[in-house]
């Protein structure tokens, strides 16, 4: 059998999310964490990786309230980038007061950047193109 380089596949990762577990990879070369999974360390490129569970905690780097969604998504949700305590940044949804997270709240909406959040998850059915159901991180304020 040929060597498989993925220590953690996207299926494993999404199964973890469904149990509110955030899985990632620890690099045996540089010690840093890769998330979501890749066949190489996102920091040093090493393939010497081991599976690890992350805290699921981090802070909001930025976000956007989406009114015009892709077909197969219900409108009006918040997408965000979260820098995890372990180092990597991942994309997810933000479960938060939508009016506070938008222009309706003026400049104060920017205060959400830096907010501490913890991981939960959301599953929505797939469409013709998504290769199965869609599992995503859903971040909640701590």
């Amino acid at each position: 059998m040929s060597k498989e380089f993925y220590v953690l596949t996207s299926n494993d990762y999404h199964e973890g999310l469904k149990n509110n577990k955030l899985l990632g990879l620890r690099c045996k070369n540089c010690g840093q964490i890769t998330c979501p999974p890749l066949p190489t360390c996102q920091w040093c490129g090493s393939t010497d990786l081991e599976k690890t569970e992350l805290s699921g905690k981090g802070e909001i780097l930025t976000f956007a309230r989406v009114y015009v969604p892709p077909e197969s998504f219900e409108p009006d949700y918040i997408v965000c980038l979260v820098r995890l305590d372990e180092g990597p940044t991942i994309m997810g949804r933000l479960d938060y007061d939508k009016d506070k997270a938008s222009l309706k709240n003026g400049n104060a909406s920017q205060d959400i950047i830096g907010m501490r959040v913890r991981l939960d998850h959301l599953v929505i059915p797939g469409d013709k193109f998504s290769a199965g159901e869609r599992v995503m991180p859903l971040f909640k304020p701590i």
């Binding site: 996207s10 999404h14 979501p36 890749l38 996102q42 780097l61 930025t62 976000f63 956007a64 309230r65 989406v66 009114y67 015009v68 969604p69 892709p70 077909e71 197969s72 998504f73 949700y77 997408v79 965000c80 980038l81 990597p88 940044t89 991942i90 994309m91 997810g92 949804r93 997270a101 938008s102 222009l103 003026g106 400049n107 909406s109 920017q110 950047i113 469409d127 193109f129 998504s130 290769a131 869609r134 599992v135 995503m136 991180p137």
Partner: protein, 395 residues
């Protein structure tokens, strides 16, 4: 490597056209071939940028059909896909094959007919340019990417969001002003006199971006004929030389160090400048990928025209409008001219060629006629970025 010249270029009107991708490509190509004074037998290979033909009209493998339609014999045809950057990726490859000496004359173009898909399905298919497993699942859209860029920029540089939105509005005002003067533009004779309030108060599409912060969906085609510089003057008195090209890549957005300073763009722009032996200060006119107002600002910094965090002030002060330097998006850009994603990069090249020949639309021509122009094209969330640097004189 040999020097390469553009000996002809053209674009179709952009907008809602109801034509097939093949029709759009051929309309642009035959006009570019006429402009170049070449006949079908002169073209040795065809390069095409097209992103969503399979979704738009059920057509893949379009290269052969284009060669057939144009009666180019049996020459090789290759399709390139790098989302909204596809046209420039195709152009760069075409350039390299001529520069290497493999071909003397080639045709490169791109086209897209996104309007037939409607906004929800267009938004779905465009969003496929993001990482499908770790980003696409969340329902991220391209307005979403650049809404996140705007908020991050506001935070990093401590510019209150309302102040930043006013600065961003100037991108829309400037580009729509130019687009309204360009007969090929989707918004020709429309929105030429926007005020800051018009941009701020239009419908919110993806908070904090409004409709006027966004480029539209579009149909359109563009094409150029490239030739070895040594033979260019057999065909035209006004060859425009390709002085440098660049291309760069990046993985998913989370793995990027800073989404306001995309490393793929820095890498690509530097490669192009290095090849041309030029720097940002040498550029007179530039077509920048202004898919959203925030996108033009961060691009103008990553290409080296302004310090980090100063691009927003530059557009607000009018430095990037005609009369300033570098002039950004004198054709109307994606926002005013339209954004048929497969065609966009080639249309940007066409716009610079027109500027360098002094043939840009009335009111959009920079005077005196510029020497050096540049294009910047972005695909996805900074995943594919490419540049060209063009000049009136051979190095």
């Amino acid at each position: 490597m040999r020097d390469v010249a553009i000996i002809g270029s053209a674009q179709t009107k952009f907008g809602k056209l109801g034509k097939s991708n093949t029709e759009l490509f051929c309309d642009a190509s035959l006009a570019a071939m006429e402009d170049a004074n070449v006949s079908q037998k002169d073209i040795e290979a065809l390069f095409v940028g097209n992103v969503l033909g399979g979704f738009e009209e059920g057509q893949i493998n379009i290269g052969g059909h284009l060669v057939g339609a144009l009666h180019l014999g049996n020459i090789p045809a290759t399709r390139f896909e790098g989302a909204c950057c596809s046209g420039t990726v195709a152009f760069r490859d075409a350039f390299m094959w001529v520069a290497s000496g493999f071909y003397d004359i080639v045709l490169v173009g791109g086209m897209e007919r996104a309007m037939i898909m409607g906004t929800p399905f267009s938004t779905r298919t465009f969003a496929m340019a993001n990482d499908c497993k770790y980003e696409g699942t969340t329902g991220i859209t391209f307005p979403g990417v650049f809404a996140m860029v705007a908020r991050r920029y506001s935070k990093i540089y401590d510019i209150p969001l309302d102040k930043l939105r006013e600065k961003m509005a100037h991108v829309s005002m400037k580009n729509h002003k130019h687009g309204a003067l360009n007969p090929h533009a989707q918004f020709y004779q429309k929105m030429g006199n926007l005020k800051v309030e018009d941009v701020l108060n239009s419908t919110v599409v993806c908070d904090p971006l409004t409709l006027m912060d966004c480029c539209p969906f579009s149909d359109g085609g563009a094409a150029v004929v490239l030739a070895s510089a040594d033979i260019a003057r057999r065909y035209t008195d006004e060859p425009i030389y390709v002085l440098g090209v660049g291309q760069g890549s990046l993985g998913h957005m989370g793995a990027q160090a800073d989404i306001t300073k995309p490393a793929s763009r820095v890498f690509s722009a530097r490669s192009a400048f290095k090849q041309a032996g030029l720097g940002p200060k040498d550029v007179d006119v530039v077509e920048i990928h202004d898919c959203f107002t925030s996108a033009e600002i961060v691009a103008s910094e990553a290409m080296g025209f302004f310090d980090w965090g100063k691009g927003a002030d530059a557009v607000e002060s009018g430095q990037t409008d005609i009369g300033g330097r570098p002039v950004i998006n004198s054709s109307g850009g994606l926002m005013g001219k339209g954004h048929p994603i497969g065609a966009t990069g080639v249309a940007q090249v066409h716009a610079i060629v027109e500027q360098l020949k002094g043939k840009a639309p009335n009111g959009n021509q920079v005077n005196p006629v510029p020497e050096i122009g540049m294009t910047d094209t972005l695909g996805g969330g900074f995943n594919t970025i490419a540049h060209t640097i063009l000049g009136r004189s051979r190095r």
